[in-house]
């Protein structure tokens, strides 16, 4: 073979090399991910994503906004409703737990003093010089309530003035996003440290069929193991990283897994969909590159493609490979 012929063959085979050497599909997935608040910087995570068939969704931030919200204000006397909102809300500003933060949104800040936190029982303090206590009804000597969510009693001047109930603030599109996960072949499983009753209510509201209740945050490894033993590839979406998981989706920069702008279950679904579409696009582009490269090399070897035609074949072939790698964005 003459050197000219060899050059023509190599040029005509260039699309196959391009398809295998240049990760266009990954670049496209990363770009699309960034636009959607999904950071696919970890190549291993990108590779693992398409295999995930189970995702453990932490209660905080995925199907909920990560906050609680007040769902009921029940004064002992109707006249006390505003007082209940004001005094409980003012004291709530001094609380450092989700229940307190939810109640704090009922009112502006007031003049607070002598604030004391009483473990899991509640919080006490002085609002405009009135002694106020906010906490479990039994701690305050008030009748217990059987409402869904968390119900706290409120006392002002040592007199009970009512109850406030808070519950998870469910993301409005959580049921649709959960359905999208399931449509992609990923089974969502809700994990919560809340009671069985509240967890079941939340799962049902989001259309999730499996859940774990009364599970503290440091219990995730055990759940992952349990699922993996069943032959599943398990991802965990939550505020904390779980090393035992196959894939971690979190809003913190932990250096591996997929980092998300937030833990919204919709974003989790988008992240996993992106990994799948990237994998599919990479496969398609390799096949396309191989086909175009082999055909070009054959034509060049047969002398059909002179040097100018071989160059044109290489350019058009690489372009076709790139187009196939870009493909369509996942819905």
């Amino acid at each position: 073979m003459t050197p000219a012929l060899v050059a023509c063959v190599l040029l005509a085979a260039l699309p196959a090399v391009f398809a295998h050497a240049v990760p266009v599909a990954r670049w496209v997935a990363r770009a699309r991910g960034r636009a959607a608040g999904v950071f696919l910087d970890d190549r291993a995570a990108l590779a693992l994503g398409p295999r995930v068939d189970t995702v453990l969704l932490d209660r905080w931030g995925t199907v909920t906004t990560g906050q609680l919200r007040v769902v009921a204000v029940d004064p002992v006397e109707p006249d006390h409703e505003r007082n209940l909102r004001w005094f409980a809300g003012a004291l709530g500003h001094a609380a450092d737990d989700p229940v307190g933060r939810a109640i704090a949104r009922l009112s502006s800040r007031g003049k607070l003093s002598q604030v004391e936190r009483h473990g899991g029982s509640g919080i006490s303090g002085s609002v405009d010089r009135h002694p106020v206590r906010l906490g479990r009804p039994d701690w305050l000597g008030m009748d217990a309530r059987d409402d869904a969510g968390v119900t706290v009693g409120v006392q002002v001047d040592s007199r009970p003035i009512g109850y406030i109930t808070v519950a998870d603030d469910v993301r409005p599109h959580a049921p649709e996003d959960v359905a999208r996960l399931r449509a992609d072949g990923v089974e969502p499983v809700l994990v919560s440290e809340d009671t069985e009753r509240n967890t079941r209510g939340l799962a049902e509201a989001c259309g999730i069929g499996q859940w774990y209740a009364d599970r503290p945050a440091d219990d995730r490894a055990e759940l992952v193991d349990e699922r993996r033993r069943g032959g599943h590839v398990v991802a965990v979406a939550g505020p904390a990283t779980v090393p035992e998981a196959d894939l971690v989706l979190t809003d913190a920069d932990v250096g591996h897994g997929i980092r998300l702008a937030d833990l919204d279950v919709g974003r989790v679904a988008t992240a996993l969909a992106l990994t799948r579409s990237a994998a599919r696009a990479a496969t398609r582009s390799r096949r396309t590159g191989l086909g175009v490269g082999v055909a070009g090399a054959a034509l060049a070897a047969a002398g059909v493609l002179a040097l100018p035609l071989a160059i044109g074949w290489a350019v058009v072939g690489c372009g076709a490979v790139a187009l196939v790698a870009v493909g369509r964005a996942p819905s």
Partner: protein, 410 residues
């Protein structure tokens, strides 16, 4: 009552004539006074007007006593003698000599004798009866002249007394609410012109007493009393207060607002009460307590026992509350009673959230109920809270303790 001096009984006709003169006693006393004013040199001076008033009162009372005794009624000589001693005392203080008294007595006896003669002629009284009346008059006049002499000697001695003591006496007269005559008398002795408006100052010296000479001649004061009283003309008040602090830098001076000198006694009460209220922390403790700024407090704390009893009666609902609750509810109620403002306005004044005020108002209505619609109750409550709340805020819990004790004893 002093027994009447032995005097010959008057015959019946003389008694009858005197009884006919009974209705003219005042008229004759006025004649005597007029004659004395015109007959004794120097008594036309307006400054002697009070002296002449005293002369008239003394003569009128003396004639009344004489008539009563002549008609066999029971009489007391003490008031009349005291009044004639005062006449003598006053004459001496004004620097007159005894001749003035002799002239006056001569004129008075002359006028009365003329009246008796005319009346005797009109009533055809016998010479013996008229002589008996004249003898009795002469005896009575002698007795009164003796008292005038006693008073004159006392007055003359007072004039020669040390002026420091005299100023102290004047101060005492002013602060005790002595009558104008007494004040004028003491002022004359002390050589201190009593101004129309005076300023009364109660001083807690915080150490040694203030010396009178440290305050200058325009201020009256006396040591040995705590708080130490100081009185001066209102025009000199600022200067005197400055002198007080120069002499005693740690002193606290309670300065009453200007009053007529006749009200100096009341002003002293107010100034000392203001100091007591400073002690009770109702009034802020400052080197100079300007009473005019705390008139309401001074007024409201004038009747501590009444305040206490009203508090036990009207504030019972509050006493069942905790100390903290009682304090904040009463504070809010008082502001509302004083201003009748909206919740946000009251909240701004108290430095709390408007909803806190609405909550407190609900509690207040629960505690007092319909009583808050009774105007009398509201007025009493306002005054009571105005007086009591500062005490409670200052830490005085005696009302509450008293209520608890009453509850425990049933």
């Amino acid at each position: 009552m002093r027994a009447a001096p032995p005097r010959a009984a008057l015959p019946g006709s003389a008694q009858w004539m005197i009884s006919s003169l009974e209705g003219r006693v005042r008229e004759v006393a006025e004649q005597v006074t007029d004659q004395v004013r015109s007959g004794v040199p120097g008594l036309e001076d307006p400054a002697d007007a009070r002296l002449l008033d005293l002369v008239f009162t003394a003569v009128h009372n003396a004639m009344r006593v004489f008539v009563d005794e002549a008609l066999g009624r029971e009489v007391s000589y003490l008031p009349v003698e005291d009044m004639f001693r005062k006449v003598g005392y006053r004459v001496a203080l004004r620097g007159r000599d005894l001749d003035t008294i002799d002239q006056g007595m001569g004129i008075a006896v002359g006028v009365i004798s003329d009246e008796l003669r005319v009346s005797a002629a009109e009533n055809e009284l016998s010479a013996g009866a008229l002589n008996a009346i004249n003898d009795a008059v002469t005896l009575f006049v002698g007795q009164l002249t003796e008292q005038i002499g006693v008073g004159y000697r006392a007055g003359a001695q007072a004039r020669s007394t040390d002026t420091g003591l005299a100023r102290a006496r004047l101060l005492a007269a002013l602060l005790s609410g002595a009558d104008a005559d007494e004040v004028e008398t003491q002022a004359a002795i002390a050589g201190w012109d009593v101004p129309d408006q005076v300023t009364v100052i109660a001083v807690e010296t915080g150490g040694a007493a203030l010396r009178a000479d440290a305050l200058g001649p325009q201020a009256l004061t006396r040591t040995g009393r705590s708080p130490q009283p100081v009185v001066c003309a209102t025009a000199d008040a600022d200067e005197v207060v400055a002198a007080i602090h120069r002499a005693a830098p740690k002193a606290r001076a309670s300065v009453c607002w200007p009053v007529p000198h006749g009200d100096a006694s009341a002003a002293w009460t107010w100034a000392t009460r203001a100091l007591s209220l400073v002690e009770a922390r109702v009034i802020p403790a400052r080197p100079v307590v300007e009473c005019v700024r705390f008139r309401t407090e001074i007024w409201l704390h004038a009747e501590p026992v009444l305040r206490r009893q009203l508090a036990q009666e009207l504030l019972q609902p509050l006493f069942n509350e905790t100390e903290n609750s009682r304090e904040i509810l009463s504070e809010t109620l008082l502001v509302w009673l004083e201003t009748r403002d909206s919740a946000p306005a009251i909240a701004a004044r108290l430095g709390v959230h408007p909803q806190t005020v609405r909550y407190r108002w609900k509690r207040i209505n629960e505690l007092f109920g319909d009583a808050l619609h009774d105007p009398d109750f509201v007025v009493q409550l306002t005054l009571l809270l105005k007086a009591s709340v500062p005490l409670w805020i200052a830490g005085d819990q005696s009302d509450f303790r008293r209520f608890r004790e009453q509850e425990e004893t049933g």
